[in-house]
Symmetry: C2
């Protein structure tokens, strides 16, 4: 049935791909230069003044292209979202293109270049610096531009802008009214974004949301998705002696925060990925037959992934995307005691671990927090929000300071067979020349869930970044070929969406 739908779509408009590709081939260095300039503006989500500089920078790019822009905020001193609008005479549909322009923190070890000094590098695994400005002929599509946000999400923003420029140069008009909604606090967990949209609902409303976040399918094939998991995260700190103690003299008597934090982790999740909190899976919505069919149709990527990642096993279901249909507890970090091989023979004073839950449809962050804290309390943890004073320490044998992340979101899932969704599938299939892959929803999260709920518009995710773009980690990058393909995909979405 999928094939029939796609064929029906394919019968429609003429694809702009040829013209767009010719323009891109003639402007490769200009595109890379513009992209590098955008990436050079630091955008760590928690540094609001930097985020604001990005908002101004990207707004100016869009104004130059005829968009009306404004910065929306939920309240003063929160990161702005950019809203940019362009009317198309005669168009009956309005498509809202979402991306976020803020980036993850950059403190990870092992960056081979400076996060905000974009560095072009040869294909992996060598990743040698390369002077792309001095290159003759077409740039190698396997080269990668390394910088924070190259893949997540400034690449999407650059793809849209270049697609727009290519269509304009070819005299091809958009087929829909366009709204761009570029968020500035996604990597903080979107703490104000839902309120921002609620305050500006009529301004941002459209008939279809196209979400340009996340990486492509690991097979390298273009994929669309219809939602994503929710998220809520927290940090747990546990307490040992007020001062470090010699572990020969005190190790048999003083509680060890190193062991305590490991024990807290293992009480929440096992090594196979099972969440051990009683009742945790009760709210999870069952997987529909349509979702199962779509998941089964995805090509095998697991064998190649294991090889690429150096993994001798996987946890959870054998198929990667099957795991997205259930919640996951990720232990982002665990730390206690000295670092490095010269750790002193001492009992540490504190242990810390950091977690995020990815939530499946049916779960809410509030209920997850409640279940988690009830479970910790049953394990004997006395939960505090501030560093405990002496009286608190003496009164409670096991103290855990639990701080929930400011941002959280529920999962969202749009119908795979709605008219807007089918039009997107048809457009991309025309552009790429094969039936686009369809994922019921992504494993990652985004601020889109509440937005979709508020706008009551269907959502389709269209990602262009290579799956191995190291998003959220050191050495984030975008493969040039992915940017080229992304320009063509976005040009198709601008010019030949039709329903």
């Amino acid at each position: 049935m999928t094939a029939v739908l796609l064929m029906a779509g394919t019968a429609g408009a003429a694809s702009p791909t040829g013209a767009v590709r010719a323009w891109r081939q003639a402007h490769e260095k200009e595109i890379v230069s513009d992209f590098a300039a955008m990436l050079a503006v630091p955008n760590v989500a928690t540094t609001v003044p930097d985020v604001e500089k990005n908002a101004a920078y990207i707004s100016a790019l869009l104004q130059k292209r005829g968009f009306k822009t404004q910065l929306l905020t939920a309240e003063p001193r929160t990161p702005p979202s950019i809203l940019a609008a362009l009317k198309t005479p005669g168009a009956k549909r309005t498509v809202v293109f979402y991306a976020h322009y803020d980036g993850q923190p950059i403190g990870q070890k092992g960056w081979i270049s400076t996060p905000f000094e974009p560095s072009m590098r040869t294909a992996l695994p060598e990743a040698r610096p390369v002077d792309w400005k001095a290159a003759t002929g077409p740039l190698d599509p396997d080269w990668r531009l390394f910088a924070r946000s190259a893949g997540d999400d400034k690449g999407t923003i650059q793809a849209f802008i270049s697609a727009f420029d290519a269509l304009k140069a070819a005299g091809i008009k958009p087929s829909v009214n366009i709204k761009l909604l570029y968020e500035g606090e996604e990597e903080q967990g979107s703490p104000h974004f839902a309120r921002l949209v609620a305050k500006n609902l009529e301004l941002v409303r459209g008939d279809l949301l196209i979400m340009g976040d996340g990486p492509m399918h690991q097979s390298g094939k273009q994929e669309i998705n219809f939602g994503n998991r929710g998220i809520t995260g927290f940090t747990a700190t546990v307490y040992g002696p007020l001062k470090p103690l010699h572990d020969g003299h005190y190790g048999s008597w003083a509680p060890s925060p190193t062991v305590m934090i490991a024990s807290l982790v293992m009480s929440l999740r096992d090594d196979e990925g099972r969440i051990l909190i009683p009742g945790f899976y009760d709210d999870v919505a069952p997987v529909s037959a349509a979702d199962k069919t779509a998941l089964a149709a995805l090509p095998d990527v697991e064998t190649g992934l294991k090889r690429a990642m150096g993994l001798g096993r996987n946890i959870g279901p054998p198929r990667l995307a099957d795991g997205y249909m259930a919640p996951t507890l990720n232990v982002r970090a665990i730390h206690a005691g000295d670092e490095g091989p010269n750790a002193a023979n001492a009992i540490a004073t504190e242990g810390e671990a950091s977690f995020d839950f990815r939530l499946a449809p049916g779960e809410t962050p509030a209920r997850v927090r409640e279940l988690t804290e009830a479970h910790l309390t049953r394990q004997g943890w006395f939960i505090v929000r501030d560093a405990p004073d002496l009286a608190t320490r003496l009164a409670h044998p096991k103290i855990a300071r639990i701080i929930w992340d400011a941002g959280s979101s529920v999962a969202t899932e749009s119908a795979m067979d709605g008219p807007g969704a089918k039009a997107v599938a048809a457009s991309i299939s025309r552009t790429v020349g094969y039936p686009v892959l369809r994922l019921p929803f992504m494993g990652a999260s985004s601020g889109m869930a509440e937005i979709v709920n508020q706008m009551k518009a269907p959502m389709v995710g269209v990602a262009i970044a290579n799956y191995d773009d190291n998003q959220h980690a050191q050495n984030e990058n975008l493969r040039l070929g992915n940017l080229w393909d992304g320009i063509e995909v976005y040009a198709g979405l601008i010019a030949d969406l039709n329903w």
Copy 2:
């Protein structure tokens, strides 16, 4: 019976304490100045050139006082031990005074002063810097000198030297032949010390070993001990994906090194301190009736310790010293993923934990290693010694790189009722004016175990450092009053040991 023995001892020689105290009171600033100069010579155990500078520095101090000194090494380029000898005409016994002059690493966070720039500070908890050189009248005995090795063990070396100077000034002769054996690699786990002693057995031999390592009893009373636990330690590294992965996309599928390392920790030890390795306790020698009696006679310190450490519970036996009679597994550190509250939502590539076992009499490091690795193997870990290559990673679902510390030692325990031991107890009881506390053996470890075995001489531990000296951690310090008392105790041991 204990009291009777001590009384018998007390009947003997005239104590030099009065004369020593008068000399110390007249020379406080000179003593502190000399001590600070010794502490200013950096002595991190792993930096051999620094250790050698300390050896030269301390040797010169002893030569000036009439000792014949030499540096002993097991082999070239290993840290030297200082052997200093002084014959006493007519003496029939030779007493070997042991201490180590190397120090723990200094990389801990939270030092309030620079580890090798000794800083005098007021009593805890204020610990304000104080200009002791400008002070008038006696120095406050609750002031503390902060520096690496102030307590562990340069304080013992200073106490011996000042005691020797005080006796000389008072015209009081030693009652025994003296050998000083000052080790330079104890904080590395003494990897070459046993061989060094074996090579120089006749040079270092004596009738009694007095070991000046470790802190005093928490009650502040003088304590002697008759041995210490053994030690063997290791670092475990576990492996996840070759590159960090976005935990939304991969958290339900890729193994998490953060969880794996927590799981490895919890498979070895529980939060109550029980070692979970099957057969681990089989080799542990039973606690003798004499040891049980001595342990029961120790004053209560646990209530005060809990308050001082901010602990709402203890693990293991309620009495601190009872726990020394069994082995302990200490988890020195655990680390995986980003540090700090901004941990990225990523799956880390590796997890690491660092451990040391404190061994009870009857256990050997070799057997402990064998039991530990057999247990890990049964838990599914494939043990490697080098970072695994891709083929190894793909072939084994769970890989742990286990690196055992270079140094290790067995426990040692001398008889509490031998003639040398009784003479030491009598001398110190005379000096301090109350029956010295007797601990069967310390919870900590030292390179003395094999030495005692080789020399076939009994050992008595005599420590002078305040129990809260932060040894092995940041802000190591020695309380001035402990140095003053230590000088008197060591003067007694030099001048009135008699058996």
